[in-house]
Amino acid sequence: MKATCWIAPNNVAVEEVPEPKILNPRDAIVKITSSAICGSDLHLLDGFIPTMKKGDVLGHEFMGEIVELGHAARDGLKIGDRVVVAFPIACGNCASCQRGLYSVCENSNPNAAIAELAMGHAPAGIYGYSHMLGGYAGGQAQYARVPYADVGALKIEDDLPDEKVLFLSDVLPTGYMAAEMCDIKRGDIVAVWGAGPVGQFAALSAYLLGAERVIVIDRFQYRLRMVREKCGAEIINYEETDVMDALRDMTAGRGPDACIDAVGTEGHHASPALYAYDRAKQAVKVELDRPHALREAVLSCRNGGTISVIGAYGGFIDKFPMGSFMNRSLTMRSGQAHVQRYWRPLLERIRRGEIDPSYIITHTMRLEDTPHGYDIFKNKQDECLKVVLKP
């Protein structure tokens, strides 16, 4: 079968690889009908997530049709079912899963010891997202193996098109969780750094959860235009406006009640000097992430407010404004999305027409064209926001 393989930083290729097989009783094999390139795949592409190997199959946002089932996964699933697959691989039985913390499942990462070296404790395994996170083959392919399919595959029983339900796999629950972590109260103003798919859905969800105003910060005019038109958010282009001043002004000095970092490890900064500071340290691996958005979010937030970090970070950061964070009674919440906790209620909202996530798709292409998809998505060419691949 064909699959997108990571070769080296900034080098992916569509290659012929073996078809996946059932390895465990709770596995399913899914014939993929739609797969997406996620913003966090770019951190892999750029080589900022450690423990990638040449030949690793990429992709963690996908859906398809079950073509094979292990004997223990037949309860509730059958061959021919149309399913969306959650990007965090979760067993459903451990203490974390039972608390709804699926992305920190205690059993799904067979390489937990590597992750423990880097992070202290290991999070769950993720499809196609480095060996530290399990060494699972990803879903930018024709077929994928889905472990613990009874927990990780959501059956789609009506005729909603792939485009409307595919993002239940990752970016929609991720954006939703970002907003939920803000603990939004009536009248709250929420600021979102990043107008990519996750930032867009975080803005949308913040309104759904009762925010009075949502302000989105980005530097690409087309993304800002889209988040204003589709989500109704106010916008700041940080290359044209000083973000701290603008937020202070828009909130009459208070600062946003909650700040969402939907940017993560490869943030940019309007000041070339400040950008160069982190970029240089990242290049020589003194610092693994560029936390521009996170620093700005902390400094902008109102006293006693909440920082919600959903952007993906890989390692260590420097110059975290701890003094501001501590002295001003801020709260920080973070996590990879616990997809399985959110996808049923979100599917309901899609069914009822409250959300139509398909608007973020700007490009649909064949699996063979994935390298081109990565290229335009990474370089923000052709007004690219989301690429969907059709195997």
């Binding site: 073996p18 059932i22 009783p25 690793d56 067993c91 039985n93 059993n107 799904s108 067979p110 399990g134």
Partner: protein, 325 residues
């Protein structure tokens, strides 16, 4: 094994009623002290060479100055050998070797010194002899355990989201153990309390032994030990303690064994990466997986499941060509 092999080891009966080895840290403390002593001596000698020379009574010769400088540098070497490793081992013997050199130098110097200088050299020599005795004692103490005993103890624990009853019941059926203990090939019950174990050993070998249950407290603890004549004499216990606040069960394993081939076998096992501490940690991770999910987590990069040793040479995360059991 290296971590523990250089410690003075003696035998005691532990709280579980099993004969175990315990360690004395006294000799380690002495070795550490000697390390700091070397550091002080080295720095003093290098910083105040003329004064030290006067004190020893060798300040009248140019050669003595050079010898003193060399001795100062050497003391810093001893300090490094004793203070940097986690446990002082053979480093302690470097001090003994240094003492012999110092004694030789001072007795040589004594031959052509007279009067006050000779008297000072005499004091120096006696002091050196005393230090040599202490060094010899410390060196023998810190290296003795390793040379004569090569037994080992490993401990590991995990929390499982199941009741102590479930975990105890699964473990108590010893024939289940190979399901998560990857180095075990089989365990067969050959009597009420007796079982026959077969395990894979380094370099494709195989070891077999009989074990008996020593103590068995339902839902709390199982203790076993190998019967006489085992190639790898071993004993172990597993305890099941309900975790606070309904957080499942804390499973604590404590194993002690004498590796085949003693030190050589132990070193060999380490070279092949089959370190028991790592093995037991991996085993417990798999025990948790089997208890909680009914299967062992396998990915395309780790088709054999959790195995820390295998992680270094992991295959790419590509689907497998061949089905696996």
């Amino acid at each position: 094994m290296g971590r523990r092999s250089t410690i003075d080891v003696r035998s005691v009966t532990d709280t579980l009623g099993i004969e175990r080895e315990t360690q004395s840290r006294g000799s380690q403390g002495l070795a550490r002290f000697l390390g700091w002593f070397s550091l002080g001596l080295g720095v003093t000698t290098l910083a105040a060479r003329p004064q030290v020379g006067r004190l020893c009574g060798v300040d009248d010769s140019r050669t003595a100055q050079t010898v003193l400088q060399a001795a100062g540098v050497r003391e810093l070497g001893h300090a490094a050998a004793l203070l940097f490793p986690r446990r002082a081992g053979w480093g302690a013997w470097t001090r003994v070797a240094g003492d012999v050199m110092d004694l030789a130098a001072s007795t040589t110097a004594m031959r052509n010194r007279r009067g006050e200088r000779r008297r000072r050299l005499m004091y120096t020599t006696w002091a050196l002899a005393g230090i040599t005795a202490v060094d010899l004692y410390a060196a023998v103490q810190v290296t003795r355990g390793g040379r004569f005993r090569a037994s080992n103890r490993v401990q590991a624990s995990v929390t499982i989201n199941r009741s102590a009853e479930d975990a105890y019941r699964f473990w108590h059926d010893f024939e289940n153990l190979p399901r998560f203990m990857s180095h075990l090939e089989s365990v067969r019950m050959v009597g009420d309390r007796r079982s026959h174990w077969t395990a894979k050993a380094p370099a494709g070998r195989r070891v077999e032994w009989d074990a008996e249950i020593v103590a068995d407290r339902p839902n709390e603890m199982i203790t076993w030990r190998s019967v006489d004549g085992a190639t790898v004499p071993n004993s172990g216990s597993v305890r099941f303690v309900p975790a606070a606040g309904g957080r499942g069960t804390e499973v604590r394993v404590d194993l002690e064994y004498a590796p085949p081939g003693r030190m050589f076998g132990a070193a060999l096992a380490k070279i092949f990466g089959e370190h028991p501490q790592q093995q037991i940690c991996d085993d417990l991770r798999r025990f948790k997986q089997v208890m909680e999910t009914g299967e062992i987590a396998r990915s395309d990069g780790s088709p054999d499941g959790t195995n820390t040793q295998q992680q270094i040479k992991q295959r790419p995360a590509q689907p497998l060509a061949m089905p696996r059991a």
